[in-house]
């Protein structure tokens, strides 16, 4: 009983981490890149300049750190939970990204875009409810 309860707890905890840190990583990358400005890579010198600004941005490193937490949580939870159970969590992340962009970055999200995000979540949910393995074992 304890092990079953513990398994449920750590599964929910890691899925929670995925739903929070994945979108947070994207929002932080977005904030960092907006601060750097529109990227133009016409010449190698320009590309190097942009790369140096990216690599010295604390916000972008925070974003990369958040995405690493997301990937670690994703890999860990997949080591015991079904892919078809975990994958639909990524659909929630699209909604969470829009919410975080709206509330943390003050981005204007129109009603049509909210409907679009909801349909994307539904689509990812449908994909997640298909068999994760469709090929035979070799």
């Amino acid at each position: 009983m304890t092990s079953s309860g513990g398994l449920h707890f750590k599964t929910y905890l890691l899925i929670f981490f995925m739903v929070i840190f994945g979108p947070l990583g994207n929002v932080l990358l977005g904030k960092g890149m907006k601060h750097i400005g529109a990227v133009s890579i016409g010449t190698p010198a320009e590309a190097l300049h942009v790369l140096s600004r990216v690599l010295t941005s604390g916000t972008i490193w925070l974003g990369i750190g958040s995405l690493m937490i997301f990937f670690a949580a994703n890999m860990l939870v997949l080591s015991w939970a079904d892919y078809s159970y975990v994958q639909p969590a990524s659909s929630v992340a699209y909604g969470m990204s829009a919410l975080m962009a709206h509330f943390l970055l003050r981005e204007a999200v129109t009603p049509t875009r909210w409907v679009g995000v909801a349909i994307i979540c539904l689509g990812v949910l449908v994909v997640g409810h298909t068999p994760p393995r469709t090929t035979e074992h070799s």
Binding site: G37, A101, R113, C121, H129, T130
Partner: protein
């Protein structure tokens, strides 16, 4: 125009990278031992498969393209549009990895594409 090229790279290079990594991991074999030493062994074996290096290169391209597109457009637009990778993934899985993609999965991909279309045309 440049934004569309970056979106194309995010979706196609990202999906291509995942497909290459998936192909490499299938060559390595199913991971059954999750002890740290065994996982290091899996990583080392994976790095000897050329598909893994192609995949990592493509994924790095996708990541820097994502940064470029985020410098020009809002997160609330960019992240939903990247969901098109589900369509590219289904196509790649079908034709590159020889997977059987069910009609239900195609229906889900179609919904994702519809949602992305609404996000794109849904500006103020």
């Amino acid at each position: 125009m440049l934004v569309f090229i970056f979106y194309f790279l995010v979706i196609c290079a990202g999906t291509g990278g995942e497909l290459c990594v998936s192909r490499a991991m299938k060559a390595v074999g199913e991971v059954k031992d999750f002890r740290p030493a065994a996982l290091v062994g899996v990583v080392l074996r994976a790095l000897r498969v050329s598909w893994m290096w192609i995949g990592l290169g493509l994924m790095a391209t996708a990541f820097f393209s994502l940064l470029a597109v985020l410098s020009r457009q809002n997160v609330s637009v960019v992240v939903p549009v990247t969901a098109l990778s589900y369509g590219a993934g289904a196509l790649g899985g079908r034709f590159f990895l020889g997977e059987r993609v069910t009609s239900r999965r195609w229906a889900g991909v179609l919904l994702v594409c519809l949602g992305v279309a609404l996000v794109i045309v849904g500006g103020r």
